[in-house]
Symmetry: C2
């Protein structure tokens, strides 16, 4: 079925707007719009305004470039956290992923992407200079590179490593290995190989 | 992964609002919100306002109860259409489905649901009285009942039939049968049975 004729221009506009969102086709968009039509006007106004407000009022933390409601985000401003470790991530979602592990108590630095010449993203487009400035201040002890293990991620890691290698700061990266719960049989060779190379004392695997 | 900590209240509010939509979970909602954050403020404002405007300004046609931008919808107001036939459907989406067949040139009547005691929907909740009024006016020649073939649909069909049977109006319903392109082997017995009972002259199947 090809939905093309809309009984109302307002409906058509709203459907068109929803189809601009990733992963939402015309049929889903129509379903969402008709759902909204059945809700209280107050709830729909709140929904619409929450989107507008989000886009217009949200800030980026001046220190780590994570999104924030304030000039300095809750993480950078929290002095109970370890202010001498920075975890470098690609985007906001990665901050949330690391936070959800509840295994990390340091700070972050959100690059806003990774070096990808194919997409026209070079080091200048990313928050790399501001990371170097944070390290220059001298209070940072360790930088954890937590980018994806793609070619772009590796390139970005290496670029940052070269920029920081002359500073008295430890540069580490995430351990790569067999996922918890995974069977060896189904693990790719590169991952399994890295798990072997970076093997750890048995006792330390008992910790968590 | 359990996404719970949001770096911003504005972000959290927008994500919560999106999760209220049918079929959108927390992960999809976050993805949509982060997508909106990357768009121009102007585009996002337009999106938000299109939703608000839709909910506050859309009307229901006074005649057929389809949604409309005007008091009388484009279909009811179109005198090139056959004003003596009414197709009775459950909702707006069904109007669009029938319109997209391009096989129908009459009017509609949107009930706004079907009789479903389980969901507390009785005849009084639906636009049945207004349908009877349209028939009473005396210009309608045929009523096509195009509700779904569920028990609720059948109940509603029968209720409407009883309300209208004393008027000089032909009451028809959609032909049920094997879908175009379907193999008999995979058609359920009830549908195949109805296809047999309601068999048509071969010549009339050649039309379209």
């Amino acid at each position: 079925m090809n939905i093309e004729k809309y009984p109302s221009k307002l409906l058509e506009t709203a459907v068109n707007e929803f189809t601009k969102l990733p992963g939402i086709g015309r049929k889903s968009a129509l379903r969402l719009v008709l759902h909204l039509l059945r809700q209280d006007a107050e709830a729909v106004n709140f929904f619409g305004n929450s989107i507008i407000q989000l886009r217009n009022e949200i800030k980026h933390c001046k220190v780590c470039h994570n999104i924030s409601d304030t000039e300095i985000c809750n993480i950078c401003g929290n002095h109970a956290r370890n202010q001498s470790v920075i975890c470098v991530v690609e985007n906001i979602r990665d901050v949330m992923s690391v936070e959800n592990t509840q295994q990390y108590n340091g700070l972050y630095h959100v690059l806003g992407g990774i070096i990808s010449p194919m997409d026209g993203i070079g080091p200048a487009e990313l928050e790399i200079e501001s990371l170097v400035k944070r390290v220059e201040e001298g209070t940072i002890v360790e930088i954890i590179l937590a980018l994806s293990t793609t070619m772009e991620g590796d390139t970005t890691n290496f670029y940052i490593f070269r920029k920081l290698k002359d500073f008295p700061v430890k540069i580490t990266t995430l351990a790569r290995g067999v996922s918890v719960g995974d069977e060896l049989e189904y693990t790719d060779e590169i991952t399994l190989g890295r798990s072997l190379t970076n093997r750890i004392p048995y006792e330390s695997s008992l910790g968590k």
